[in-house]
Symmetry: C2
Subunit: 423 residues, 2 copies
C-alpha cells in the first residue's frame, strides 16, 4: 500500500467512524427531527440551485472535452428543474412513515421474558454510483430517514456536482441540528476511495452499488463488506392457455417496451402451445409495429416464421433492449422449468384467467417478485407503495441475533392484478 | 487450479445444482411432507445407531493416534445416547410451526394491485463446521424444515461420523419421498472443498460457519458467497444506580459464570458510581468465591483493591473465560458511551428498577439484543422461543426485491424481564 492509499484508507476509516456516531445519534432522534433535517436539506438545495448548476457546468465542460454519448451527458446534466426535483424528493421522503417506528414482532416466553423485535438502522452505508448526481441526494434522503449514515461515492465525471449537492445537504443538516457526518463524500476522485470502502469490513456495514453491470460486478468481486446489489433481471412473461388475449397483448407490450432498459423489463415471452397459434401472430405484430425484434425457438417460428431464430445463449441473455426471446411451452410446469433453467429469480409474470394455473405458477416461481395478470415493469419501489427505493436487490437476506427457522427464510412478493399496465 | 481442485470444483457445482433443484421441490412440498421426512430421518438415525457409533470409533482412533485435548475428544465422541439426542432433535424440529407458512405483509395499492410478502427458503446453504458431528444433523433438520438444501462440510476429524450420519438421514429422506440431494456431504476431506464452497457465488446462496474464531475469520475473509457468521460477543451488564442489589448479584453471576465460554456471556461489568461503593464489594465476593478473576479500572479498584488492574485492551477482549472486566461509570449515557467504544453490538443488559433509565438504555444500545433485568446468557434461539437455532448471527441483514426504507433497516431485540436467570 503506497502513501496515497494510506491517506485514503485513513480518510475512509475516519469517515466511517464519524458516520457510525452520526447513525447512533440519528437512530435515537425522534422522526420529527430527522424529517426536519430532510426539509432543511431540501431548502438548502433550492437555495444553492444556481451554484449546483454552475458546479455541474464544470463537470459538463470536462465531459465535452473528453467526449462520450449523448445519453451519458443527459444523465450527468443538472438544470434548475432537476435540482428542484431532488429537493422535492427529500420533502417527499420526509412525508413517508417512519421506518424505525415499527415493532416487527412482540411475544412473551413462558418464563415471563417479553420480547420485541424492532426496526433499527443498518448503520453505515457506502453508496457507490455512476454519473447521475441525483442518486446521491436520493440516497442521502433515504438513509437519513432510516437512521443510517451514508458515504456517497459518485462517479468522477460528476464530482463537482456531487460536492455542491453534498455542501447544500450538510448545510441543511447543521441548520436542523442533525450531525453533518451523516452524509459524507470523499474529498477527491481517486479510484482508491472505492477500493478502501469495499475493504472496510466492520467499519462500513453495507455497500450499495448503483450503476451498470460492470460497476456492480467489480464491486461484488472486490467487496469484503456485505453488498446489496442489483445483478441481472432476466424476467419472463408466461401467457397461459386461459389468458385473456386482449389483456395479454396490452400487458406484454408494456412489460417489454414501456422502458426496455430497466431490470423489470420482460426479456422472454413464454407462450402456451394451446394459445400460441391464434395469439402469437397478434403479439408479434403488436411488438414489431413498435420496433421490437425477436429471437424465437423453432416452435414459435413455425407459427410466425418472420421472427429471427434464437441462437444458443439467447434465452440466457438480458437484452435491456427492444429484443424479445420467444419460446412455446406446454403448460405451467414447462414454463416453470424454463424459468428455473434460464431465469435470474428477479421478476416473472403469468397471464391467465385460470386461478388454479396462476397459483401453481406463483407457488412454483422462486423469484423475488411473481405477478399474476400484470406487467413485470411493476417491479419498482414506488409501484410497491414504498414511496421511494434506493435500488432493487437481487440477493437474498441476512439475519442478526439468534438464527432460528424464521431467519433461515427469505421472502418474495406475490402480486395479483386484473391487467394493470404501468403508465 | 490443478486437476484435483478442478474435480473438487466440479463436485461443488454439481452438488449445488442438485441442491437447488431439491430446494425448489422442498419449498413446494406441504409442511406435512417435510415433517415426515424429518421423522423418517430420525428413525433411520436410530436404526443406524450402532454403525454411526462404529464410524465414530474410527474417527476417535485417528484422533487418539494424533493426540489432542480432552475437550476436543469429548466434542467428537458419539454414544448411543448422543445419536438418540440427534434423532430427537429432528423430531423436535418437525413439531415446530412451518416457517414457510407465513404471510409477512399483505397490502393493496390504489391501482388495485394486491401484494403479499411471503416467507420463502434461502435456497442452497453451505454449512462449514468443526468437530461436533451433531451439528450436521441439527443443520440438516433446520434446513429441511425451512425448505433449504444444505451441503454439510464438517471437520476432517469427524469425517467417518459425518458420513454415517449423512447416510442415515438421506435414507430417511428417500423413504419419505424427499429429494436426497437436499442434504449432501463432500466425498472426501480435502480442504479444497471448503475453498470451492466459499467461491461458489451464484451456486450456494449462503455460507454458515460454525466453529472457533479462526474458522469463522478464514471463512469471512475468503468467501465470495454471503456469510451468516458469528463473530465476537463482547457483552456488557450495566448495573444502574436504581438496581435491586439481590437481583443484580444473581443476574451478574449467571451472566458471567453460567457458561463463561458462550458468546452471550458477560465480559464486562459496568457499575454505576452511585451504587458501586456498597454493591461492588458484594459482587466481587460472589464471583471470586466461584473462581472468577477481575480486570478493573482505577475507580473500581479504589473500591475493591484486591481486583487486578485492567491493562490496555482488556475492555476490548472477549474473555470466554472466568475473567470479568470491571469499570465504574456515571449514569446511563456513560454506560452507553463505553459500550459504543468497546462493544461488539451482540448483547447488553441493564439491571435497574427505574423504567426511565431502562428505556434510555434499551433505545440507546444498537446491539442485536438488549435486555432489561435479565442475564445476557439468554441470547439463544431456544430461550427466544425459536425452538432451535443454527447459530447466532452477528452481521446485519440483506433484502431482496425493491429496496425502500423498510429494507434499509435491520432489527434488534428488546427483552424485558423481572430478574430471570438462565438455568
Amino acid at each position: 500500500m503506497d502513501a496515497t492509499s494510506d491517506i485514503i484508507g485513513d480518510w475512509v476509516r475516519h469517515a466511517a467512524a464519524a458516520a457510525r456516531d452520526a447513525s447512533a445519534i440519528l437512530a435515537q432522534m425522534p422522526a420529527a427531527t430527522r424529517n426536519a433535517g430532510l426539509h432543511a436539506a431540501a431548502q438548502q438545495l433550492r437555495a444553492a440551485s444556481a451554484s449546483i448548476v454552475a458546479a455541474n457546468a464544470q463537470d459538463l465542460a470536462a465531459f465535452d472535452r473528453n467526449g462520450g454519448t449523448a445519453a451519458f451527458r443527459d444523465r450527468l446534466a443538472l438544470t434548475p428543474a432537476r435540482v428542484e426535483a431532488m429537493a422535492q424528493g427529500l420533502d417527499d421522503i420526509a412525508a413517508l412513515p417512519d421506518p424505525l417506528a415499527r415493532v416487527l414482532a412482540d411475544w412473551t416466553q413462558p418464563n415471563g421474558l417479553h420480547f420485541q423485535r424492532i426496526a433499527t438502522p443498518i448503520g453505515v452505508i457506502g453508496m457507490i454510483y455512476e454519473s447521475r448526481p441525483n442518486v446521491g441526494a436520493d440516497a442521502a434522503g433515504l438513509c437519513l430517514k432510516s437512521g443510517n449514515a451514508v458515504i456517497l461515492r459518485g462517479g468522477s465525471d460528476s464530482f463537482h456536482s456531487a460536492r455542491a449537492i453534498h455542501t447544500a445537504i450538510t448545510a441543511g443538516l447543521r441548520a436542523a441540528g442533525l450531525p453533518d457526518a451523516a452524509v459524507q463524500i470523499p474529498p477527491a476522485t481517486d479510484r482508491a476511495y472505492v477500493a478502501a470502502m469495499l475493504a472496510a469490513a466492520g467499519q462500513i456495514d453495507l455497500i450499495i452499488p448503483r450503476g451498470g453491470k460492470s460497476l456492480v460486478e467489480r464491486v461484488q468481486s472486490e467487496a469484503r463488506v456485505p453488498v446489496l446489489a442489483h445483478a441481472e433481471g432476466l424476467c419472463h412473461t408466461y401467457i397461459h392457455a386461459a389468458a385473456n388475449p386482449a389483456m395479454a397483448r396490452a400487458v406484454l407490450a408494456n412489460a417489454k417496451l414501456r422502458r426496455p432498459g430497466v431490470c423489470g423489463a420482460t426479456e422472454t415471452l413464454l407462450i402456451d402451445a394451446a394459445i400460441a397459434p391464434t395469439l402469437l401472430p397478434l403479439l408479434a405484430a403488436d411488438l414489431a409495429a413498435a420496433g421490437c425484434r425477436f429471437r424465437a425457438d423453432p416452435r414459435a417460428r413455425a407459427i410466425v416464421p418472420s421472427m429471427d431464430p434464437a441462437a444458443p445463449g439467447d434465452f440466457d441473455t438480458e437484452w435491456l433492449d427492444t429484443i424479445l426471446s420467444v419460446a412455446v411451452v406446454d403448460g405451467v410446469e414447462a414454463a416453470l422449468a424454463h424459468i428455473r433453467a434460464h431465469g435470474s429469480e428477479h421478476t416473472e409474470a403469468i397471464i391467465t384467467d385460470d386461478p388454479a394455473a396462476a397459483q401453481l405458477f406463483l407457488r412454483g416461481v422462486m423469484s423475488s417478485v411473481a405477478l399474476w395478470n400484470a406487467s413485470t415493469q411493476f417491479c419498482d419501489g414506488g409501484e410497491f407503495g414504498f414511496g421511494a427505493e434506493i435500488g432493487i436487490a437481487t440477493g437474498r437476506m441476512h439475519a442478526r441475533g439468534p438464527v432460528g427457522l424464521e431467519q433461515l427464510t427469505s421472502f418474495r412478493y406475490l402480486v395479483t392484478g386484473n391487467g394493470q399496465i404501468r403508465p
